[in-house]
Symmetry: C2
Subunit: 279 residues, 2 copies
């Protein structure tokens, strides 16, 4: 039976613990705070939890479920306690910088990204079913050995995820467009609708905002820390996506300026048709 360790017991780490325990795997957890360890045990996220990483001494697979910026420091911290062949994976939403930082520290590392979430955070957030039908990307590289990859694939597929394998750069370019770009696009919309207006115009806009504004502004109104880290760790790919976006938006603006309504209708027909390919 594969023995699992989870470092970071928030939404993703806690949900992974619940799922793996429900499948009968032994699961231990690590958190920086004793109160989190205690609560994680109470909630049944893990069998046992400690602030000390020595609890990872006999596990086969470690899921590092900290924020992106803490992944490499966490590796440095837990490595002295791991067995030589322990497989380590992470759940960060950007892969290339993590792979680059972690590979020199630990050869048995395979990057991962479960694309699931709720608005919740912290030790109370973990829940069963979070990963059902969600995409879960693994980013093995040519030198990744087959056996640990197969182990990780088995674990991920047991979560009910849709598993995808690609290299870290392909992953980062894709999520820059479909996940990080929307945050900046949406935040800019909120800024445009809320800043620099007269008090009367702002009040009217707030009163008339309906489902179109609500949906388009959702991710721009999300966790600021997370949005900032996406940009920081996926800077290059996000800037490329933003440059493309500026170009697309400029074309639409030009058509509106020119009053070329048939051409604008064509653009909107194309986007209507294209969207269904993403759902």
């Amino acid at each position: 039976m594969i023995r699992i360790g989870i470092v970071g017991l928030g939404l993703i780490g806690g949900s992974l613990g619940l799922e793996f325990r429900a499948q009968g795997y032994p699961v231990v957890g690590v958190s920086r705070r004793q109160t989190t360890c205690d609560r994680a045990c109470e909630r049944g996220l893990v069998d046992r939890a400690e602030v000390n990483a020595r609890i990872l001494a006999d596990v086969d697979v470690v899921f590092v479920c900290t924020p992106i910026g803490a992944i490499a420091p966490t590796l440095t911290h837990i490595i002295p306690h791991l067995q030589e062949n322990t497989l380590v994976t992470d759940v960060g939403s950007v892969k290339r910088p993590i792979v680059e930082a972690v590979r020199p520290l630990w050869p048995h590392f395979i990057g991962g990204h479960p694309m699931a979430g709720t608005e919740q955070q912290g030790v109370e957030a973990g829940c069963l079913g979070l990963f059902q039908n969600a995409p879960y990307v693994l980013t093995p590289e040519p030198e990744t050995p087959a056996a640990p990859l197969a182990t990780l694939q088995t674990l991920v597929q047991g979560l009910g995820c849709r598993l995808y394998l690609c290299n870290p750069d392909e992953h980062d370019r894709a999520v820059a467009r479909i996940s990080h770009l929307p945050v900046m696009v949406s935040a800019s919309l909120i800024a445009t609708c809320s800043q620099g207006l007269s008090p009367e115009a702002l009040k009217l806009a707030q009163e008339l905002a309906s489902s179109g504004f609500r949906d388009t502004s959702r991710v721009g109104g999300g966790n600021p820390e997370l949005g900032m880290m996406m940009a920081q760790y996926n800077q290059t790919a996000l800037l490329a996506a933003l440059a493309d976006y500026r170009d697309r938006l400029g074309r639409i603006e030009t058509l509106i300026k020119q009053g070329d309504w048939p051409a604008l209708a064509q653009v909107l027909q194309a986007t209507q048709a294209a969207r269904s390919g993403f759902l």
Copy 2:
């Protein structure tokens, strides 16, 4: 008892008919097609319906529920059949160009805009409850007499709407930002994620797209004809909103280029805080 006429028996017209009939008002309908008239009667959207506007001869209030571009031509068509004091209102999502076009044709006109909708269209789309808690804007002007405005306010409030009064220009500037701008912002996102990518990159983006992309792209994947008409009839206000938007997006892009993460986090904190004022 106020007698009501509805011209155009699609989503909005049909829903208005159902609501007013449920409140006991007599309601007649006009559609260009006999099959639509027949179906509207079968569905109980109206008491009677005809393709001929003479059916409006004894109504007190007419709701013109055609697409924006058909509102003024519809007025020209029905005017010969109206009584001198019949109040006419519309449901178009832009107000200044309609008011300008219609006022010379018919002095007893008050612009209106119920901000409710579903994905449905046509005579099968009308449904009860569509307007519950939705904003409904009326745009009276200084010369609008008080009595017909009071009648219309009574009818609108009976729908369960949140009624707002403002002038047509204020309305158009507000909806340019919170309703028309999101369509263009969202369509540009879809274009960026679907056009100019390699087949492999497109496939990966499609597979990894999740709720963030789904919500941010929803209105950009909507009815192209409607999006085009918003731009056509609200061109000036929408261009102003787009220019503002470009500026806001450019500021975010600059912060990402500069790697000024604390400043980016501040921007995202401000948009997170501002969004709640619109919900």
